[in-house]
Symmetry: C2
Subunit: 367 residues, 2 copies
């Protein structure tokens, strides 16, 4: 493959001049520039970004390390990050850790060796201190700017972060159910390993506490993060089990979309009516949730905004404008989109639990 010297030779000039026309760094006479451009064409020359990076000590590459891509929020998140990064003239190096802390660390080390200019990290649910130490060392070495995106962790402290408002989303969902008069709200939670998961549980509890209530412990159940049939089956079994309680729930707050399918299946088998017998709210929205026979109330997230803001924050730091500004944690609002699976209950209360309602309510509450 041709290099810059070949081009210089063919254009009868020096490599410095070729470099100048390549980067518009120095003025070059039109005639010479034309000769150079022609030589580039002729030789099918593609300047080596590798050599350029070695020389400039910048790779124009952003790394993104995240645990999963098979979640509903991952694709729009990645899409937004990629868009921002590309528009700023950077490339995106993607690494998926599958939630394995060991892999997470290896991937971060690799990103460091590849000398990415910035690193976007979505902390896996099993994020540990060893990983945090590594991040701190990386950050301290001063070569790579780091921002938590979508999933942060308490360690390291002093790291920029952009995440969804999980707590208020769960708080709004739970408050909504309480407002509707539900008294026994089951929580189908995700293993509380990460901050996101814990914040959803916290929101559920705060909504109760605010009214001087304490949710019954037996109503809190653990689901699975798995997007596969296992996740569905577990939610189904758990729901069945909830209705063997002496005092079964009159509402269920489900912490992810996959589990909703299992819950609905179980409720169908038990011939329980939504929302007549049980109100339902889901964390995270999707088109199909609103096109079900009984549209499901959902906490809608904006993973695209999370990605966009995280990328912009990182890029902003990289430009050096805010090099040493104090770390910033941005919380992207979530929205409660109220649909029949919960709202129908208000009407039913008036009508003394008439037949399955058909009218569709769709209001939006912003946090």
């Amino acid at each position: 493959m041709a290099n810059i010297r070949d081009v210089a030779r063919l254009a009868q000039t020096s490599v410095a001049t070729v470099s100048a026309v390549l980067n518009n760094s120095d003025p070059v006479s039109p005639a010479l520039r034309a000769r150079v451009l022609h030589a580039i064409q002729e030789l099918n020359y593609h300047p080596s970004a590798v050599a350029r990076s070695l020389s400039t000590r910048k790779t124009c590459t952003i790394g993104l390390v995240m645990p999963y891509i098979l979640t509903p929020t991952a694709p729009p998140f990645i899409r937004a990050v990629e868009e921002e990064v590309t528009n700023a003239g950077y490339s995106l190096l993607l690494a998926l850790s599958d939630g394995d802390p060991q892999r997470e660390r290896e991937m971060m080390e690799l990103m460091a060796q590849k000398r990415v200019d910035g690193l976007l990290i979505s902390a896996g649910p099993s994020w540990d201190d060893k990983t945090a130490d590594q991040i701190e060392a990386l950050q301290a070495s001063g070569t790579t700017r780091i921002v938590f995106a979508a999933r942060r962790s308490e360690r390291p402290k002093n790291l920029d972060a952009v995440v969804s408002d999980n707590r208020n989303g769960a708080f709004a969902a739970t408050s909504h159910l309480l407002d509707l008069g539900c008294t026994d709200i089951a929580l189908l939670a995700l293993p509380a390993l990460g901050l996101n998961e814990r914040d959803r549980i916290l929101g559920y509890e705060l909504a109760h506490r605010e009214r001087g209530l304490i949710p019954r412990p037996e109503l809190r159940r653990w689901g699975s993060t798995s997007q596969s049939p296992d996740g569905i089956a577990l939610a189904q079994a758990t729901t069945r089990d909830l209705f063997t309680l002496e005092r079964p729930p009159d509402a269920i707050f489900v912490c992810n979309q996959t589990m909703v399918l299992g819950v609905l299946q179980a409720l169908g088998e038990l011939r329980l009516d939504v929302p007549g017998d049980v109100a339902l709210v889901c964390f995270d929205d999707a088109p199909w949730l609103q096109h079900l026979p009984v549209p499901i109330t959902a906490v809608s997230q904006r993973p695209d905004l999370v990605g966009r803001k995280a990328a912009r924050l990182l890029l902003h730091r990289l430009r050096g404008d805010a090099e040493a500004a104090p770390p910033r944690v941005e919380i992207v609002p979530t929205e409660l989109v109220i649909r029949e699976s919960s709202a129908g209950r208000a009407r039913l209360a008036g009508a003394g639990r008439a037949a399955t309602a058909t009218a569709r309510a769709e209001q939006v509450l912003e946090n």
Copy 2:
């Protein structure tokens, strides 16, 4: 940041030796190796992959250029690619063109400049000759090995490719509906820009032709690739329109998941029963499709296998084992998963179109 010379100095040896312990390329005495390792620790040294790449002329990086990530098949595809690539010691550079040929070309040029060892390309729906020329030049320059993945194109010829069996998937779906006695099968197609889209239409037509039938032209409608509410609304409007025909369809083959929501919405409004009045088959499967009140028959794809095989093929070429072997086109089979939305019709035929069926059939036909 410390470099290899700093390490050599601290360990009181030469850079060649440090390099040797870093790469296990040459035997080094245990004592010296320990000194080197200690110096590396001490200096928090991360060898520069950039410098290494310049020297070795290999970046251990694979590029992936694809149009969309917001489709149901993209995430499992990317996941599999990333996994294979990572396990082979490579990194993944991801670029999303959004289907814009201009961007597609810029991204490919950038990948070339970054000197990726291999390139996985998912041809956008608007793939044009200019892009094909560029690919050919890239391939000819001999630095980057290229494989079409998930979406190929007729040009350039002689390129490795791994794609889903769109044609047979559509063929199986249509044949299944014809076998059930459907005579007027509407096709809700996607704009026929890419090979994938055209193959689905082709499969629909071949199934008819095999029986000496020719589908009525007014039953073929164009939907949208959009995953947004627009895509749903268009499918909804189109479905309504289909039932203003003098002779409306008794089955609909829908070419993607998003459109199914619009179709179901329209059928609901028209108070048409699935599968009693209209049988329904969807290209591409999803968990929620089988948990709907009437589970939907679907052509199930294996985007993960497509990604895995494409990555492996590329990696295999890179290892040089099959450097110059003739190009290979792998077609990954699709499966028809038969559910109530079509299978129910067989039973109804027997029962003289009784009330909505409730039994669930789930068989699998392999192509």
